[in-house]
């Protein structure tokens, strides 16, 4: 029940073109609740969902790969053009690129999240099915799922980490602007407005919720989430203003 609500929220917060690509958790649950859930139909539906995930995931991944290269080239060209000049014009372009990097990073993370949410949904729905029918479908089926392309997120994760490194190299945290830091509260609420940021915040919240203790905790359940700094990021807090570093 909880997951159903969560995935629905996730879908709502997600990028528009993604919305019909998620697991149809509710439909599957309804099928299970029906008086005589036929395994063949259930399995058939699951297969169809997995097809959907695979197709979407691989396509997005391909787009990311292309964009990844393009962004690299763009940066390279900018560096060549700009050299060590600190021209006003370049400032804007650098800002643009920085924004694009962050958004690109976000999109890729969201794809990894997509994969995870759907996997989790599958695992849960299989568990429900076994519970309802007394079957043993879950274990072997999930083994197959683990080998599916949409579950193999290594490449995307690798790209994500690369861009994190790039960002650190490119824009190391220099100074804390006093106003900026104090307004992080405003940002969390305001920036969690639309688009990628909103989606990632929602994803983190969802994950936290799902990993809270559940009534059906079992051998196959995940332990509670350990987000030490999450409160700092996700909820507005009063942060004392740091000493500004003069420059």
């Amino acid at each position: 029940m909880k997951f159903g609500k969560r995935i629905k929220e996730q879908i709502q917060e997600s990028l528009p073109e993604w919305r019909d690509k998620f697991l149809r958790y509710k439909e599957l649950k309804n099928l299970i609740s029906s008086p005589a859930p036929a395994e063949s139909i259930f399995v058939g539906l699951l297969n169809a969902e997995i097809e959907k995930f695979n197709a979407f995931f691989v396509e997005q991944e391909e787009d990311f790969i292309i964009h990844h290269k393009e962004l690299q080239y763009r940066i390279q060209r900018l560096v060549e053009k700009c050299g060590d000049n600190d021209d006003v014009m370049f400032r804007e372009e650098i800002g643009e690129i920085r924004k694009d990097i962050v958004n690109f990073h976000g999109e890729m993370v969201l794809l990894v999240n997509y994969s995870n949410i759907n996997y989790t949904g599958l695992a849960k729905i299989l568990k429900k099915y076994d519970k309802r029918t007394g079957g043993a479908l879950r274990s072997p089926f999930i083994q197959k799922v683990l080998r599916q392309p949409f579950f193999k997120t290594d490449l995307v994760s690798r790209l994500v980490r690369e861009w994190e490194t790039t960002m650190d190299a490119m824009f190391p945290a220099l100074t804390w602007e006093v106003e900026g830091y104090e307004r992080s509260a405003a940002v969390s609420s305001a920036a969690a407005g639309e688009g990628i940021f909103r989606n990632t915040v929602a994803a983190l919240m969802t994950m936290r919720e799902m990993r809270r203790g559940s009534s059906t905790y079992g051998a196959y359940s995940l332990p509670p989430l350990n987000l030490s700094d999450s409160d700092l990021v996700l909820r507005p807090r009063h942060i004392p203003s740091p000493i500004p570093i003069p420059y």
Partner: protein, 397 residues
């Protein structure tokens, strides 16, 4: 104003960036080889199949059984398959549906399927000529994989301890000679042409297998395109010829070229509709912040940093969660295997005790830590004949 400190050193940072991170793919040249030459140095054919089986979950064998035995075990699924394949997949989708349809109601049929898979491996793996317009297009899927857990997974598949279908595939694979150069083209990156077979229900002449691109392959693509005069002038056929990647079809190149052109002509926004002005007129967080900024809000820099932080955290948690999920399933598999072994090793008298392990495995126990306590508990129940086994359980847990 706040942006100044960043910008001052920004260009310096960019230069550093250029030096350090472009090309940022680590070891592009060694990646294909590394992917090829797995540390265990298995012959290529074996590797090929190994990876295929791991990534397709025995679906090879399943398609095989479908085509050769005329859906003998899957008769009642075939109509479902067609229905759902038609309903759900894209027009050109050709993922193998079969792999999941071999879940009959009882375990007996599962075993049957495994045997069928074994038998068909020869057929599936002995693909000499890719260019044949048949349903089969197999190639290696060799994405460089830094995830130690996954590597472990594959190694586990190699170990012939469990009775799952993958290791059985491995066994039968021993008898097949290494396959010819399916992926081993020197000039090409030769990595990662992962193709899926066309579902047997679709026409034979369509070799529309879906492919999984990698950065290395894409680089080769870009090189080929550039050598042909750029994305406008290059044709799919020309690019295909230039790339010389086995298993790559003109269809793949065509769709990739299309994506490439689109990406280049709209350089600022990404390929998704997230920040083009869609009908919903969504702003990026940055634009939203900029609006705030005018009202004296936070700096752009800070907003981006925050966004990045959230994204980083989400990603980190996702990776952790994924590893956990993998491990949970691995452990579940291991436990099940142990239970099965105990079941088979037990005499009739202790049949009742052997029932409870399998049941409790399905039910919800406590968390992973507690499930570990289960195993020694079970060994206590079935002690005498299984002493080496129980020792193994204890040491592993």
């Amino acid at each position: 104003m706040e942006a100044r400190p960043v910008q001052r050193s920004g260009s310096r940072e960019l230069t550093n960036l250029a030096r350090t991170s472009i090309p940022s793919t680590p070891n592009p040249s060694s990646a294909p080889e590394a992917a090829f030459m797995r540390p265990d140095h298995k012959p290529l054919g074996q590797q090929t199949y190994h990876l295929l089986s791991s990534s397709n979950g025995g679906s090879v064998g399943h398609i095989c059984s479908s085509s050769s035995s005329g859906f003998s075990t899957n008769l009642h699924y075939s109509s479902m398959e067609k229905h759902y394949a038609a309903a759900s997949s894209n027009d050109d989708s050709s993922w193998c549906n079969g792999g999941f349809l071999d879940f009959p109601e009882d375990h007996q049929a599962v075993h049957n399927n495994r045997h069928i898979e074994d038998g068909c491996i020869g057929i599936g793996a002995a693909f000499d000529d890719i260019q044949k317009p048949n349903d089969w297009q197999w190639a290696d899927h060799l994405i460089t994989d830094e995830d130690p857990l996954l590597s472990t997974n594959w190694n586990d598949l190699l170990i012939d301890t469990s009775s799952n279908s993958d290791t059985k595939d491995q066994k039968s694979l021993q008898t097949i000679p290494p396959q010819p150069q399916i992926v081993q083209q020197q000039p090409s990156p030769s990595v990662t042409v992962e193709l899926r077979p066309v579902s047997t229900t679709s026409s034979n002449s369509n070799n529309k297998a879906r492919m999984r691109w990698t950065p290395e392959l894409h680089e080769a693509f870009v090189e080929a395109v550039n050598s042909l005069g750029g994305s406008d002038r290059a044709t799919p056929k020309g690019v295909l010829k230039k790339m010389k990647v086995e298993g790559l079809t003109i269809y793949h190149v065509k769709s990739h070229l299309q994506k490439y052109r689109t990406a280049r002509y709209r350089p600022e926004p990404s390929e998704s509709g997230s920040y083009r002005s869609s009908s919903e007129k969504k702003l990026t967080p940055l634009e939203h912040i900029t609006a705030l900024d005018l009202k004296g809000g936070i700096g752009i820099t800070e907003a981006l940093r925050l966004q990045m932080e959230v994204q980083k955290q989400l990603h980190e948690q996702l990776e952790i969660q994924r590893n956990l999920q993998l491990r949970i399933e691995e452990q579940g598999k291991y436990l099940q295997m142990m239970f099965e072994k105990q079941n088979s090793g037990l005499s009739k008298g202790t049949a009742s005790t052997s029932d409870s392990p399998s049941k409790s495995e399905q039910e919800d126990n406590k968390k992973t830590a507690d499930s570990e306590e289960l195993a020694p508990e079970e060994t206590r129940k079935c002690q005498e004949p299984e002493s080496p086994q129980s020792k193994r359980v204890k040491t592993d847990n």
